[in-house]
Symmetry: C2
Subunit: 202 residues, 2 copies
């Protein structure tokens, strides 16, 4: 990294834009105000892609330092499920997709009880039960947060479109690549063996 100049984006800006990574919702939540770049004439709030890019790097630094099987990744909404499954295959973490059963992180008597060291969340609104249980048990929470996402239970916010099929595929693909690079399992300029398309929900 050339320290004297601003860092490059992880992928060209066009790639972010064509995946709609910057496209938010019609709702502007307080916690997300610092990441909102502008409102489009049609009322959609637009996120700052550069901030998403920077936070993917920071999140990768953070997540790569945990024991991978102790990272749990959740997505109750459908478009996040394939990206989460692919991501977990690549980085060796545990996926929890579909409905999140209450007590998963808090009730040791349940058969599906699990005690993560860190939680990665696709959508804090849809995945609120997981976020709350992690928060109650002191587990750090990293999440993709859209313009309508509420704080403050998310410790590390990655501001991005967490609804779109293409956006979610790109987000998890980039996060996987960056985590493997941080771990040294992938060279800094090497690419994943899996394409972004394979991360996309059908």
């Amino acid at each position: 990294m050339a320290a004297a100049e601003a860092i490059e984006l992880l992928v060209p800006l066009e790639v972010y834009v064509s995946a709609g990574l910057h496209v938010g919702t019609h709702v502007k939540a307080k916690a997300m105000m610092p990441f909102i770049y502008k409102a489009r004439p049609d009322g959609l709030y637009i996120l700052d892609v550069r901030k998403a890019d920077e936070r993917i790097r920071v999140a990768a630094k953070f997540l790569s330092r945990f024991d991978s099987p102790k990272m749990v990744v959740v997505s109750s909404r459908q478009y996040g499920q394939q990206p989460v499954e692919k991501f977990c295959q690549l980085v060796g973490s545990k996926s929890l997709v579909g409905r999140f059963s209450p007590g998963t992180f808090t009730n040791p008597k349940l058969a599906y009880y699990t005690e993560p060291d860190v939680l990665m969340v696709t959508d804090p609104r849809a995945d609120s039960q997981a976020v709350i249980e992690a928060s109650v048990t002191g587990v750090p929470v990293v999440a993709f947060c859209d313009t309508n996402s509420k704080g403050p239970f998310v410790d590390l916010i990655i501001p991005a479109n967490n609804k779109g099929r293409k956006a979610l595929a790109l987000l998890y693909w980039l996060l996987a690549r960056q985590i493997l690079r941080e771990r040294g399992e992938l060279a800094a300029d090497a690419e994943l063996s899996v394409t972004v398309e394979e991360f996309e929900a059908r």
Copy 2:
């Protein structure tokens, strides 16, 4: 940690309150809204101490995973200097107190150039030059943020009074203790050899 129940605070609530950890400013910044508990009749905004407590834990988890000499801790304002120095002595990190020289993180030609892996900030407003330089070079930023602190350059916010002498002493003392516990250099119930009072600016 008993997973089935809410975690205890790192110190009793009275200790937080008597250090004024929850006392904010008369300004409510957008980024800090999720952490603001209420406004006092005199117009001071009050922070949620439980959130500060939780974020100190998360920050310690994060910071403890970096190579300690590669963590830089800054405080340009006076009341933060003694806490930062003590903190750095205990955890083995690098302190940068007093005026932050522009280019410290960005200009490799300077004699005082340094390339941190992570930055810990006392007050993002007073230490804005350090925050901006870290952000530009992709260095994760953890900061104590008061009710008037601006986002979005801080990656991990610890919402707390970052102005008071006693509050800053307690914050850095707790963060040091928690980092050493996370590293396994201090048992989970062991105390630091240094008192909170020794962290206080004179």
